[in-house]
């Protein structure tokens, strides 16, 4: 079944063709991830990174990984058959370079990630939840504004249902 959703605007990060050494989003760990780690993470199969490229420079990126969401308790007997864990996607990193911040690119980058995940899940078994690890208060606000909800146990752990993501990218 061919995907019915449009193609994302981002492209898979390729360290041999994409210039990232000057990438600066204002957060050192997110810069280092792109400049040093993204290539190795792809080789290790732990995360794939996608980039927005403008004038041959990477201006924004995100990384995606397979993930799992788990309950901290075993289901009781009445809930026999209820799952203990469900497959999820993790948006592990998401950053926009300083030069283009405050231009709505972060929100559109997130939409691009949702679109990519929804396309990946079309026509087959898929994750039911998208998770993010918000790194600080600003990130929590960003994801909250973009319809992620926090875990009561840790507000930096945030979630969106795939059904919600699908509604966003299909404008349903």
């Amino acid at each position: 079944m061919s995907p019915s959703l449009p193609s994302p605007r981002s492209v898979a990060y390729n360290s041999t063709i994409h210039e990232v050494n000057s990438f600066d989003c204002g957060n050192e760990s997110l810069n280092t991830w792109l400049i040093r780690d993204a290539h190795h993470a792809r080789l290790m199969g732990t995360a794939n990174t996608y980039v927005f490229v403008k004038d041959s420079q990477v201006i924004a990126y995100y990384s995606l990984s397979a993930h799992q969401l788990q309950s901290d308790e075993l289901p009781n007997q009445l809930a026999h058959g209820a799952p203990l864990a469900i497959p999820a996607y993790l948006i592990g990193k998401l950053a926009v370079t300083k030069e283009v911040q405050n231009q709505m690119i972060g929100g559109s980058l997130l939409i691009d990630a949702l679109l990519r995940l929804c396309r990946a899940s079309e026509g087959g078994p898929s994750a039911r939840i998208i998770t993010v690890d918000a790194i600080d208060a600003a990130a929590i606000n960003f994801y909250r504004k973009n319809q992620f909800v926090s875990s009561p146990a840790d507000q930096k752990q945030m979630f969106m249902k795939m059904s919600t993501a699908r509604r966003i990218v299909t404008k349903g």
Partner: protein, 95 residues
């Protein structure tokens, strides 16, 4: 670090200056040159690999998990600004 049998060999070339520096450092660390290089290389490799191995599971309270499961196929209402962000995606000037 777990003790394993060092039975495989890695050979590499260094400049004379680097070799003398490494020998001096190994002496100071009271170690053989090969043990010194091996322990440093393995430590750095483990650091890098564990850094890249992202957390694979998120555990949340059962009440939230169950609530999510109960409404997993019911999408939330979409805020109007999400539509704007979607529309903006197609207007971005990218390569």
């Amino acid at each position: 670090m777990a003790t394993t049998t060092a039975s495989s060999e890695i050979t590499f070339r260094v400049s004379l200056e680097d070799k003398e520096l490494i020998k001096l450092a190994a002496e100071i660390a009271n170690s053989s040159v090969s043990d010194y290089i091996r322990s440093l290389a393995v430590q750095r490799a483990m650091e890098l690999v564990s850094h890249l191995r992202l957390r694979e599971v998120t555990v949340i309270p059962a009440a939230q998990f169950n609530a999510l499961m109960a409404s997993i196929d019911e999408p939330d209402e979409i805020a109007p600004h999400m539509r704007s962000a979607y529309d903006n995606l197609w207007k971005l000037e990218l390569d």
